[in-house]
Symmetry: C2
Subunit: 307 residues, 2 copies
């Protein structure tokens, strides 16, 4: 099953309690592609970069089955740049710099050869940009997953609500679910958000795991307790890439299979945070991924006899 | 298998975003006894109360197999009183009043007929008080579980470290595990705490579930996502009561059985928060508990085929 991934490809500067990097490749689309390509190929990438985005990174992505026909290269502008500093708890961060650069003019065009894709992953971008991709597709994908963030709830809520009507799965973190719904209880928040359009809601809680809501059902996936969280940047995007990559591999979009996909996404995210940027994602093998998923199985496995 | 429970029996005044009560029965020992007595009887209670503690509450506990021979009734003093206010997130609270009253003079005496108990639950109390109970037991119980809190780390750390050497399982919350170990990573914190004595460490994370560490193993139990958390008071004590009650019922203190006990404790705690004080714990039946445990099984259940 083919998968279209839409998201930024960028440079980040990151400071954590464990170190800093002044410039490393990042962007939601980059992380999604690295994660998803472990499960499904091709990943059909839609993004925009400047003259400065490394050719070697493009080649690395292509070698993993990521098709870059939908990635516009702007010859006279720089790539999107984000800089942030994490606090000790790694769940909160301050944004220091946001230079939109090429992203300010991003008008995604879906290449003809991407038409007919079964799965669409909309990484965090302006809702109008996400909507324009949906509207260009001649056949509606089997599953549309959308990531977003509080920033768009603050400045583009009407656009966001319009996209929500067109997607199947929304991914946000717990505070964003509360902001969007106006409900503190995540159970109530989920019910309200699902009335806005998506039939499934994934609430990401970082080191506290993730929740999947659908209808009256809920599934809880833990995060793996780690010795060190080195750099959380991209963990949410990597989670999304693993999630939709596994769904595209299996072609099964039932609630039961989504539960497994959440575990796969969590496993991919647990690799992501072990090093700066997407570095760790480039090293891991299928055996590494299988072993990590096995750790998740152990982590929550228990037997109970109610007699 | 018999179980000794040591802990305060008290009055609380509680204010939450959903309401307030000026006086309701509380105390760690009360919650532990209500929870544990669903699984094992007798629960042999050691505590201290004043002249004002309701006779009806004592009768209610006795009707559930809680033996009160170890509960000293002081005729001319009041029971311990605590008053607190919860914030919107229900994970943080301010203590408004702490009137120790009878608790200031608590010198627990283990009744002869409690000797030989297989399980000992030390609810949150001054470490010296906890230690005195251990030292009075002529035969070491099969399992000693201890709850404590940051307050004792601040003012009685040497005493606390002395008790830690004598217990099998320590229960604390995540910030307390960090304070006790000086490590931010919970994996590293667990390793250090287990070097202090306890072979098992339970880290309670409230709405984010609980972790059980032992040797190189870790188990993650979710909290049930609830429509409303009405009053979290006593949830940790109820968790402890369910945990040790299930272990005492089964007589099995293996890591695998402790995983199940953590789920049972989590299920009991999920009832506790549904109403003020221990009220909800007095209503529930075995069928309610079994159904709730079934919800936990569903909550984390997934299938994965790594091929």
């Amino acid at each position: 099953m083919s998968l279209i991934s839409v998201g930024s490809m960028a440079f980040d500067a990151i400071e954590t309690p464990f170190g800093k990097v002044d410039q490393i490749v990042g962007g939601a689309g980059t992380y999604i592609a690295y994660a998803a390509s472990n499960f499904v190929q091709p990943v059909q990438q839609i993004s925009i970069v400047g003259y400065d985005f490394p050719k070697a990174e493009m080649a690395e992505l292509e070698s993993r089955g990521v098709q870059l026909d939908g990635v516009e290269v702007v010859p006279d502008k720089k790539s999107f740049f984000w800089s942030g500093r994490y606090h000790m708890d790694m769940n909160t961060r301050d944004t220091l710099v946001t230079d939109l650069n090429v992203l300010a003019d991003f008008k995604p065009v879906v290449p003809d050869q991407f038409q007919g894709a079964d799965f669409l992953m909309l990484g965090n971008l302006a809702p109008a940009t996400q909507l324009s991709v949906i509207n260009q597709l001649k056949t509606r994908p089997k599953l549309i997953v959308m990531d977003t963030m509080n920033f768009w709830m603050d400045i583009a809520l009407a656009d966001l609500l319009a996209v929500l009507k067109k997607v199947d799965v929304l991914m946000v973190n717990d505070s964003e679910a509360r902001q969007l719904s106006g409900e503190y209880s995540l159970v109530k928040a989920a019910r309200k958000v699902m009335e806005m359009g998506p039939k499934f809601l994934v609430i990401k809680k970082g080191e506290h795991g993730a929740l999947l809501f659908h209808d009256k059902h809920v599934f809880f996936a833990p995060a793996l307790p780690l010795e060190d969280v080195f750099d959380p940047t991209g963990a949410g995007d990597t989670f999304a890439g693993g999630f939709i990559g596994y769904l595209a591999k299996t072609g099964d979009i039932s609630f039961d299979n989504m539960k497994t996909a959440i575990i796969v996404g969590s496993a991919m995210a647990s690799f992501c945070v072990e090093q700066f940027g997407p570095n760790r994602l480039k090293e891991i093998t299928k055996a590494d991924i299988d072993a990590r998923i096995g750790e998740f199985v152990q982590l929550v496995n228990f037997d109970i006899d109610l007699s």
